[in-house]
């Protein structure tokens, strides 16, 4: 199977262009479910025990018309659900050619297909999808604004703490994540990936 090797910068361009088209206001939290279901017309189908039985949070159907998602996430784990949706959206946007090359009609066949592909290739596709999901749900400009706000809030409150340290941003990610309706590690990774802690002005 041929796969695209996209750089982080390529993926960021794709993600921001997608957001400009489907959610130009960039208002938070990004309405990922509405974009996928209502705007793009992709079906979202909660599949019982998808994670428990198959170790998958979700997957995109071969015809790219349906996203199957673990029903526990769908019902109870909102932030995780949103990230999985964004991850599958990434495959929809970035990897159309890959989906044209494969054939599967059930979850079992999907798992077999995944196992049959070189793990490095699958890993690369998933890495691109993780980047895309992070950028879509936590857009850079909005993240920078939030981080600036956090700095203003804490610069006089936490003497002795290095506000450029990973430790501080790991802590601050809990607060920032609420604005984006994602889990804190998503924000922590985004801050590192965009080098915000080093570039932010005090």
């Amino acid at each position: 199977m041929k796969i695209p090797y996209l750089s982080y910068s390529n993926v960021r361009d794709e993600a921001l262009s997608f957001l400009s088209k489907f959610h130009p206001s960039h208002d938070l939290p990004i309405p990922i479910e509405t974009i996928i279901d209502v705007q793009l017309g992709i079906n979202i189908f909660p599949l019982p025990r998808l994670y428990k039985d198959h170790g998958q949070n979700g997957y995109l159907s071969r015809d790219r018309k349906t996203i199957y998602i673990d029903d526990l996430q769908y019902e109870q784990l909102n932030e995780k659900y949103r990230f999985t949706l964004a991850h599958e959206l990434a495959h929809y946007v970035l990897h159309k050619d890959c989906y044209d090359q494969v054939i599967y009609t059930s979850c079992e066949e999907y798992i077999k297909w995944r196992l049959s592909v070189d793990p490095e290739k699958i890993g690369w596709l998933d890495t691109q999808a993780q980047w895309f999901a992070g950028i879509i749900l936590v857009p850079t400009e909005q993240l920078k604004k939030c981080c600036q706000h956090i700095i203003e809030k804490y610069k006089n409150k936490l003497p002795g703490i290095n506000l450029r340290s990973d430790d501080f941003w790991s802590y601050a990610s809990n607060e920032i994540a609420k604005h984006f309706d994602v889990n804190p590690p998503v924000v922590e990774i985004r801050i590192k990936k965009e080098n915000i802690a080093q570039e932010i002005k005090f």
């Binding site: 479910e33 279901d37 209502v38 079906n43 979202i44 909660p46 019982p48 029903d71 769908y74």
Partner: protein
């Protein structure tokens, strides 16, 4: 406007026109998203009971007796492989159905003739 060919397509299009995701729609109306998703993807037919159909129609903002209600019922009947109730209750129309079926099966009938036939039937129903 896109032509709709199935109950599922009609259903999902109506829901999306309300700007509701499947999850929101099901939460608001206490429906099972798994079932509704299957209906929307035509994996299962429309429900057989009129009560359930009415419940779905209400949730989609379709009022009983309107033109849209008729379309909803026609798609539902077709998806369930049945003849719509209003036609089934009309003995004259019911008697005319074999002619309709023969006409549809007639390979010589072109799209224009078929449209004309459908329009005549719709006119009869009004």
């Amino acid at each position: 406007m896109k032509t709709m060919n199935s109950f599922g397509e009609f259903f999902s299009s109506k829901r999306r026109s309300l700007c509701l995701t499947l999850r929101e729609f099901c939460r608001n109306n206490n429906f099972d998203p798994g079932n509704i998703s299957k209906i929307e993807r035509n994996l299962i037919p429309a429900p057989a009971s009129k009560e359930k159909r009415l419940e779905y129609a209400n949730a989609l903002g379709i009022k009983e007796g309107t033109e849209e209600w008729l379309v909803f019922c026609d798609f539902a009947a077709a998806s369930a492989g049945k003849i719509p109730d209003d036609i089934a209750l009309d003995r004259e129309l019911l008697g005319a159905l074999p002619v309709l079926f023969r006409s549809i099966r007639n390979k010589d009938i072109d799209e224009e003739d078929l449209k004309q036939l459908i329009n005549s039937i719709k006119k009869e129903l009004r």
